[in-house]
Symmetry: C2
Subunit: 339 residues, 2 copies
């Protein structure tokens, strides 16, 4: 079984996106939010069948862990109430996809983060997503200020109430930023990579997993710059008098395989322990074209895993075993289906 | 001949650093700067002989392109006048090292950048450094706000007067940030990597080298996250309808080898054209310890190049030929010495 741990609903029907535009315009004008549009099942089905599902079948994966479009989370826009209203709409759209295509998708929640707000609303929405919608994980934005980086590091006590709830519900978080409103940072070319690298370094500096030994984070996009600079990070942990990364972080931190060429994946599987690698593609996402060097989609990461010099058992761990361990609620759902 | 393109004077005599502390304290108190201390040649010699020179000899490189300590540039502290005064002191210290050890060191300048200031003072100091001190290049900070990222992208016209001067003087810039005053970004573990990645993506988005076909940038630390994600960047250039990276950037952009483990260097030399790789170690710098996996210093990057699966001629290009091409003033100095 091949489980893609990193998919976003980037192809959501347009009325949903238009409502967001209208919602933000209303907020700026000091008006109440507009009514949310009717979106038919047929529209949802079309948005999936012609896009993700088509590619899933072509590429040969089975199940996608599916969450709202990351670049549209936009935690830096509006306020706590605006973020909550939008988040509920987004998570509900994911729930509809999961209900319409239960064999192919399982849900992960966006949170109603908002700069300056505490995490009360985020915790409540996480509980709703897990307990009522059946979601198995959450996306956590380490920079809800959208490229301004005005919030506190992930190791700060600010985040602890959310971590307590994650531990209680036994769900992992993918550490994933949203759009950038800083002109220096292209969203998917700089802000995403930087956030991945930054998050990992924050975890090196802190002792978060001493306080939360069962907390689990997925750092997406192959861990940003981290595996390529694994020697630097091992050396920095040493210079900061922290334990070796193996024990300090790597029982709790996992990298996905959203690295869009063979040499990058080869480095990832060489440098990072097999148990810490989860299959992911983030399709249909940041890079949608075909690599002229290979004739295949850049983000068809299954091909790179297939071609990597690892054992069949290691490949299966990346495709399925590790994902089921990191997402125990997914494992339970699959077991209940006899999978 | 082995030329290390990336060395900082991290071991500068303590009175120099103490003066900086006093200078900033005086600035905050609204007082004039203190008198700069007498630092003897013996102190300068000791600071080099027991540190960089010892390691240069142990590791077997010949010449180091040497600039002021990057993390101490501190462009975000004080104002334009403070930055200029400090920069002149720092560049003058580099000049003293070069004069005392002309066989081993050649100078690269820090600039007196300052958030909000135009580049007049930076251009004047660059001219002084090149024409009066004999320096061969410059370090350019893409974020003089120190992790706040409040300046404009490197492709903005704001930077053009400096680029015009660089082209006129035929000197390249290493794109190198300084310390971070943003609690989210560890300096050498996050801010450095992020800046490298960010700079490269800014260059993809823009058309800078159309306007400056002979301008040359070195992106240090192995290019941040870029080579590991080379497929992503090739794909993003395509999505942004920019030319292929080969022609769009790679006649003007070079990566150093400050990647502190063998698999990272192996990826770098596999993915990036040989002509775009310059030997660098950044010792004595961010990562000073010994890798328990190899028994050698993490930042002894010569070992990784020696062990990389490349031809002898490719190795020589990384160690010498490419560096001399990117730094024509160095090439001229070496030729004048019959080297």
């Amino acid at each position: 079984m091949i489980i893609d741990c990193h998919g976003h609903y980037t192809t959501v029907p347009e009325p949903h996106n238009q409502w967001r535009v209208d919602q933000l315009a209303a907020f700026k004008a000091g008006l109440p939010s507009p009514a949310y549009p009717e979106i038919s099942d047929a529209e949802v089905i079309a948005s999936i069948e012609g896009n993700q599902l088509k590619l899933i079948k072509e590429r040969g994966s089975d199940l996608t862990i599916f969450s709202p479009r990351a670049s549209h989370m936009g935690h830096h826009e509006g306020d706590q109430a605006v973020s909550l209203e939008w988040t509920v709409r987004c998570n509900n759209m994911i729930k509809r996809v999961v209900d319409l295509f239960p064999e192919y998708f399982v849900g992960v929640a966006q949170l109603p983060q908002s700069p300056g707000a505490d995490l009360t609303a985020s915790i409540a929405e996480l509980e709703r997503a897990v307990n009522e919608l059946g979601f198995i994980g959450v996306n956590l934005n380490p920079d809800p200020s959208g490229g301004q980086w005005q919030t506190l590091p992930l190791t700060d006590k600010y985040w602890y109430p959310l971590y307590e709830k994650m531990v209680e519900l036994d769900v992992p978080a993918m550490i994933h930023v949203s759009a950038s409103c800083n002109v220096n940072f292209h969203a998917t070319g700089a802000h995403y990579m930087n956030a991945d690298t930054t998050a990992f370094m924050q975890l090196i500096q802190g002792d978060l997993f001493k306080d939360f030994p069962t907390l689990r984070f997925i750092i997406p996009h192959g861990g940003g710059a981290v595996p390529y600079h694994w020697g630097r990070y091992r050396g920095l942990a040493d210079m900061l008098k922290q334990p070796s990364l193996d024990t300090h972080l790597m029982n709790n931190v996992f990298f996905d395989t959203c690295v869009y060429h063979q040499p990058g994946i080869d480095l990832l599987v060489e440098v990072i322990d097999n148990k810490n690698i989860l299959f992911g593609s983030e399709m249909i996402g940041a890079v949608r074209g075909i690599d002229p060097q290979t004739g295949h989609y850049f983000d068809d990461t299954k091909r790179y895993i297939d071609a990597a010099k690892i054992s069949q058992s290691e490949r299966e761990s990346i495709f399925e075993g590790n994902v089921r361990k990191v997402f125990p609620r997914l494992d339970a759902q699959l077991e209940a289906r006899g999978l």
